[in-house]
Amino acid sequence: MFRKILLTLTIMALSTAAFSASDSFFNYKAIYFNLGTHTEFYNAVQNDDSGGLRKFDFAPTVGIGLVFPAFENWRYLPEFNWVLPKTYEESNIIVNTFMYRFDMGYDPLEWLRLRIGTSIIHLNQHGRGGKATMRNGNETSTFYYPSENRSSLNNTFDLGVETLFNEYAIRLQTYTYSILKKEQRQLSYTLFFTYYWEN
């Protein structure tokens, strides 16, 4: 049933996109480049053995996006971001996060841009195999590292606020996972420094 609803929504979206397409839509106004740091699952990941929860994580992120005029002070803002791979112990696991994003931007002031949008967040984990001997009760045991390539895909609901200084900008971008399901709902965010290159 849900799949049918989603399929209907997809067809509606594609049709609407086709009707919405105008000359101005394909004439992008600017291209922009992001540099930032991403924090996954704010306040929901334990980061020490005393119960401390992670509020900030340094995970370098790069991205690129386009600015399309929409109407009045609104913009279409598709973008792609890549959270650079974290190197796990001796590179046994390589974790990449890719974000395929689409925002609507609203500029209430010349220096302020508010964003509302959605992402597909693609968490890719590449295991290189291997094994390790670790403590297990009063003894040690052999445990095994992952050896395959697997991905998780999530739709997120996103909000962002951006301050613009000429061709530069600073942005706080949030991503809400599982917004329709309370148990799994989590918030991630990225702090971006952006350079806009006008077309």
Binding site: F2, T16, N47, D49, L53, L123, S141, S178, I179
Partner: protein
């Protein structure tokens, strides 16, 4: 400026890594798994009734493993289940551990379906009073787990009864981690660290990565479709596939939002 950017991008952090119980990365075939208490288990030695034991399972699941949006694993407390042979005092052996099975003889704990928790008085299962519990997936279908047994150390000298309720929940959650296929990690912030820590409030990054690897979320739809299945190949490995559903859902939301804004503007 360029030097700063290069320096920034090369500052990737080093972390510990999750592991698995075995080298074939086994996981449950179905990502909806129930956790039961054996109905005839007795936990008197550790000062608990089976109802108190059952009450620990909900928090152990909901506070930890069910909170990972990048994983489609959904654990549920199943209540009580009919008795498993020898679960109170038998030896818990892996199906491939011939030495254990031979030594145990008729006392070996029978294979189970899904996850069963019980209290157990056989000291050989634990190897020490300070070992709080042991878990072994003891039923496989090919390389997939069909069932796992968690036994709580209920020997007369067990220290399980001295733990706080929060620590008992943490121990059971750690054991459920083994039951679903995870091994230990060297990161003391992770639930799958080999021992309990001062305070446990959430999963660590390794735990979240590990459960997302074994049970990756593939059909999400903003949380609405998180219970849908995982598509696997013949070996049971989740397939890498183009995210049509995610693309459709995201695109639909954005276009509808865009059209709504246009309508509001016109009105």
């Amino acid at each position: 400026m360029i030097k700063f950017i290069i320096l920034f991008l090369t500052l990737t952090s080093l972390a510990e890594a999750y592991t698995f119980n075995n080298n074939f990365e086994s996981s449950f075939k179905d990502h909806n798994v129930k956790v039961y208490v054996d109905e005839l288990t007795t936990c008197a030695n550790v000062g608990m009734t089976i109802y108190e034991l059952n009450d620990l399972i909900g928090p152990a699941i909901d506070k930890y493993w069910n909170r990972v949006p990048t994983s489609n694993l959904r654990l549920k407390s199943g209540g009580f289940r009919s008795a498993t042979t020898n679960i109170n005092d038998g030896r818990l052996c892996a199906p491939t551990d011939d030495d254990c099975i031979t030594t145990a003889g008729a006392t070996v704990i029978a294979p189970v379906e899904e996850i069963i928790i019980a209290c157990n008085t056989e000291g050989l299962n634990f190897g020490g009073d300070n070992v709080l519990a042991v878990t072994i997936p003891n039923n496989f279908s090919g390389k997939k787990i069909s069932g796992a047994v968690i036994v709580i150390n209920s020997t007369l000298t067990s220290i399980f009864s001295t733990l706080s309720k929060a620590d008992k929940i943490g121990v059971i959650s750690h054991e459920i981690g083994h039951a679903i296929g995870l091994g230990h990690t060297d990161d003391s912030a992770a639930l799958m660290y080999y021992k309990t820590v001062n305070q446990r409030k959430a999963l660590g990054a390794d735990d979240m990565r590990g459960v997302s690897y074994l049970y990756p979320m593939q059909i999400d739809g903003f949380g609405l479709l998180g219970g849908c299945g995982t598509i696997t190949n013949a070996r049971g490995t989740p397939l890498e596939k183009f995210p049509f559903w995610q693309m459709g859902a995201s695109l639909a939301v954005m276009i509808l939002l865009s059209e709504l804004l246009k309508l509001l503007k016109r009105s």
